[in-house]
């Protein structure tokens, strides 16, 4: 068992989420930076679907009541185990009675903690993920919560001392975007602005989406779009003209036109974008016959 001493600003349990239920109004959710979460599981020899902790802006403190193999990935931050420093992306053993604490990240936003076996909290609809928008899964962690260790290991833990991982960019971020599906709702000028301007991440960002401020994007047509299905990375443009990039807990459907979608490989970059950082979008060809 592992006790939460302090959850920091926000810590949730996350796994691969709830795919396949969107028609019932249930979004996928899951780790916002899936690459860092997957790496954490691999480094302690867990199954891909094992649950990890996702902590935003550090500040998490855990007390272990049992021995556990642990790794910390994602936004790099000071890691202390019983008063000793530990490295990011490098598995280590925590002994019973020891406390694990994470400081504030020096770059990026979300840090992941995996234990061998995964966090064994109860599943809701086959997943342990907290979906903050839909209100599904375990509540965000509170001080005093006790988390069981699960049985989601696969094979022996790998003999890796440290996985080489580049730190998240500390300054300007660039992500690749496939235009559409509703780029024809915008003026050619808006599309030019979108692909050349820089936008700043605002503090209203959360697991639902990254809100941006910068030059507004003007529409070429009036009227309302009927709500349609959304995906992580979809860049929705509400009437303000200021884009919003959806993350893991995005609504299943949305009623504002999507000018483009961030490539899946670049989603971890958006998930690690801190308020105040700037983002620019680079368009890549959609590469599909437009009509069928």
């Amino acid at each position: 068992m592992i006790e939460v001493v302090r959850p920091g600003p926000l810590t949730t349990v996350q796994d691969l989420g709830r795919p396949g239920l969107a028609a019932l109004g249930v979004g996928r959710s899951g780790a916002a930076d899936r690459r860092s979460a997957a790496l954490a599981n691999r480094l302690v020899g867990n199954l891909d679907g094992a649950a990890v902790l996702e902590t935003t802006f550090g500040g998490l403190a855990l007390r272990f009541r049992q021995v556990a193999r642990v790794v910390v990935t994602g936004a790099p931050c000071p890691v202390r185990r019983g008063g000793r420093g530990e490295a990011m992306n490098a598995p280590f053993t925590v002994w019973p009675g020891e406390e694990l604490t994470l400081g504030a990240p020096s770059a990026g936003l979300r840090t992941y903690v995996a234990v061998r076996g995964g966090f064994g909290v109860d599943k809701v609809l086959e997943s342990r993920s907290t979906d903050l928008l839909a209100g599904l899964g375990p509540a965000a962690l509170n001080a005093g919560d006790v988390l069981p260790v699960g049985h989601d290991e696969c094979g022996p833990p790998p003999s890796v001392e440290v996985a080489p991982v580049p730190d998240p960019a500390a300054f300007e971020l660039t992500v690749r975007v496939m235009p559409g599906p509703r780029e024809d709702w915008f003026t050619p000028e808006a599309l030019r602005t979108f692909s050349t301007a820089t936008y700043e991440v605002t503090s209203e960002s959360n697991r639902v989406g990254v809100r941006l401020t910068g030059p507004p994007l003007t529409r070429s047509r009036e009227g309302e779009l009927l709500s349609e299905g959304m995906v992580p990375g979809a860049i929705q443009v509400p009437p303000s003209g200021l884009p919003l990039v959806f993350l893991a807990d995005h609504p299943v459907t949305g009623g504002y036109p999507v000018i483009g979608v961030v490539l899946t490989d670049d989603l971890p970059v958006m998930a690690q974008a801190r308020p105040g950082q700037t983002v620019s979008f680079r368009l890549v060809p959609a590469g599909l016959p437009a009509a069928a």
């Binding site: 969107a22 959304m230 459907t253 979608v261 599909l288 437009a290």
Partner: protein, 205 residues
Amino acid sequence: MNILRCGDQALLVDVGDGGIDAVLGLYSALSDPRPGGVTELVPAARTLLVRFDPAVIAARDLAELLASTEPVPAPAMRGEMVEIPVHYDGADLAEVGKHTGLGSDGVVEMHTAAEYTVAFGGFAPGFGYLTGLHPKLHLPRRSTPRTHVPAGAVAIAGEFTGIYPRSSPGGWQLVGRTEVPLWDPARRPPALLRPGTRIRFREVR
């Protein structure tokens, strides 16, 4: 039908004027079983979002498959019938009665007379947008949404009627309430109303 790219792992099928029947027809044709590599289907008012795993199927191949899929015709895709008992005592019932000129009793009569179909979900787990609402009951949303709508509230807005599966903010006009549980994560499937499910409302006093 227009197939639009929606990032590197989804296609958005826009059925245009085909509307909800065309969306549900395509959704039915693709949902049981889903084609290999299709991970998620999201029906909406005039679009079907198809998420896929590019390691299993290429976008181009999926687009071809979607273009050649025969939609299930409307009568055949109809799902099970669910009857929902409703106490017609909603906070907006009198207002809706006045606005439509039907009076409260007329609204209840009209709302219980029709058969509805779940077109799509999306607002919250277990919420269904029901089509089949009589055009006389097509009303705009409230200009100021309520911060708290109770679970089970039966409401109308635009061309749709629906039931709030749990308490939440909401801007629809409230006409009644039901005690039928719409959402139970422990049930399989967890949602009572799924795309294609048919519904009738019955008045209870």
